[in-house]
Symmetry: C2
Subunit: 359 residues, 2 copies
């Protein structure tokens, strides 16, 4: 076995440490992608394909259902927190332990140890998740080889502390602008104050009552918030422009267009002169009513939670594949210098996924 | 006569050109102050004193009233607009023509040609008016030699297109801050939005009805305006701070404390967490009911106007000396590259002041 080879016979916690000590900041994933590909090609029950530094492996057993296990292999920049270190309490420390090489280790262990799963499996290892959306490897596969991502249900092994997080909320950011006329503030009546004109917008925001819809048994929680307000020219000038930037986080029973229509409706009659969409990403339905998802929930146990933030489960949803987050990492520790993962959760994730796929 | 000497026998328009061609950007007034002092010392009816680059000359005829004619000798930076140039229509072009060497020329001409005025006269020539308030020469004289500024009435020869502008409005700028609690916008309910909390402040501003009080026959016009609003951390964060900066321009029947009390009262109950005064300068009463002022108005004619902006007449007012602006310059052209002055207005100012002081 060469220095760069991955030994998939060791348990998932040890394999996590091995992966963490194989640095792969976004944009530098090639060596790790090579090692993952080599290890998978050594498994005769899998068919392996590759696109850039994205590696996909699949069984073809003619099962009634196909499920996808996906994870990104890149990390944020190393923050003087490598090599990894295991402490006396079973915590493994280092860059990428939670986000998300522990999840990748679980994928690789399932790939190596479940040669005859009860559902056909597709393993997806992708790059550039931690950087701009247009670089995201999962998106590149979806564009170039959408058939590689066909399936009935997907599990994204992003950190969720080994609890199922279903679907995710969408996010829409809009600039609302009011216009006025500049004047010296000593003769304010010769101008028109754009900041004063924004008053109805803030009133509407302050009075807004967010929805909390129940979807597939999960209670979502929407929100409409100003995230920025800017206006002003100088200390003695009536301002001619004010911009309120609002962020609408919406439950996945609304699509992007419905979200946009809702925000337009909320601010109708508020004197908005310009309405500019700054950013929009749809949510994802949890899809927990699908048979594969029900069996998954039964196997892993616990009570599923809604995912309020946005993750790549939304990409699967957009491809028509219901998806959930389920991984050993702790999302609160992602991107931190003291990032770590509880190795007991790595083991638990591996065991429960194996139970689901072999029962 | 040396190269630097000023010939006070030429008319005020020619003298203006001479002064304009004697550069004196703020901080470099010494040579011009020397020349002014030398010219005044040659006049036996005046007693001349000096503090720094500030020159004061006075008659001591034991008249019943004393009036002050004041002007600053500095200019804003030269903008490739020197030497001066007189065009065919009698416009004199160049840095300082309007603001305010034409006024200084009128002061010098009155000093030289009215040896026995009907009111005792004090001429004040001061430096650093165009820069930070603490450098202002008039303020330095007031601190070091308040007796030099004693008088019943003052005329500041700042540009007013040869019309009387009475008193000036005060200005107060306050930062109104609202505080909240940061949170990720995907879980907005875990935070408290400081921008939403600013909504009552903008409502109060939008609904505000400014006063328009009549003082000494002049109608003032107040204003309360947001001049800046700032808040926001990132596109996905509930902001924990919002600052609305308001500027109150108030008529001179209110003093600084009354202005502050008024602004506090306007925003009472609006949820302001911090109230910080950023800037405050009192207004100045026009004092047009004083006998010297009435005689001045009769002599110069026209209909007095209120001064909405802030000028050094406020310093005189603070010293107990009612003051007005009356000068040949055009304030709209001050600080501009194409600054110029109508020489007909220089002559008119000189003649009317002479009539007032000799009738």
């Amino acid at each position: 076995m060469s220095d760069s080879a991955l030994d998939l016979q060791q348990d998932a916690a040890r394999l996590t440490a091995r992966l963490v000590d194989f640095p792969s900041e976004s944009g530098t994933e090639k060596a790790l992608a090579d090692a993952v590909e080599e290890a998978l090609r050594a498994l005769p029950h899998l068919r392996v394909t590759r696109h850039g530094n994205n590696v996909v492996a699949r069984t073809d057993l003619g099962r009634a259902e196909r499920v996808i296990l996906a994870g990104h292999i890149d990390t944020v920049p190393i923050a003087d927190n490598l090599p990894s270190r295991l402490d006396d309490e079973g915590m493994l420390w280092g860059c990428g332990t939670s986000d998300m090489k522990s999840g990748v280790a679980v994928q690789l262990r399932i790939a190596a140890t479940v040669p005859e799963p009860n559902r056909d499996l597709t393993f997806v290892f992708y790059d550039n998740e931690e950087v701009a959306a247009h670089l995201n490897g999962l998106g590149h596969i979806a564009d170039a080889h959408p058939d590689w991502l066909a399936g009935d249900f997907a599990v994204l092994l992003e950190g969720s502390e080994a609890e199922v997080e279903g679907g995710c909320q969408g996010t829409l950011r809009v600039h609302l602008r009011t216009r006025g006329v500049r004047a010296h503030s000593a003769r304010g009546w010769m101008g028109a104050n754009a900041i004063h004109a924004a008053s109805p917008i803030l009133q509407r925001l302050a009075a807004y009552e967010p929805r909390r819809p129940l979807i597939d048994g999960l209670e979502y929680h929407e929100g409409l918030n100003a995230v920025r307000v800017e206006g002003g020219v100088a200390g003695n000038v009536i301002p001619d422009l004010c911009t309120v930037t609002v962020n609408y986080r919406y439950a996945p029973d609304r699509d992007e267009q419905q979200a946009l229509d809702h925000v337009r409706e909320v601010f109708a009659g508020c004197g908005v002169d310009e309405f500019e969409v700054d950013d929009s990403s749809p949510g994802a339905l949890p899809g927990l009513s699908h048979p594969a998802a029900r069996a998954f929930l039964d196997a892993v146990g616990g009570r599923p939670r809604p995912k309020y933030g946005w993750t790549d489960v939304s990409r699967f949803s957009a491809l028509g594949v219901p998806a959930v987050n389920y991984g050993p990492g702790d999302p609160k520790l992602a991107h931190k210098r003291d990032e770590r993962v509880d190795t007991a959760l790595i083991t638990r994730c591996e065991e429960r996924l194996r139970r689901w796929l072999t029962d």
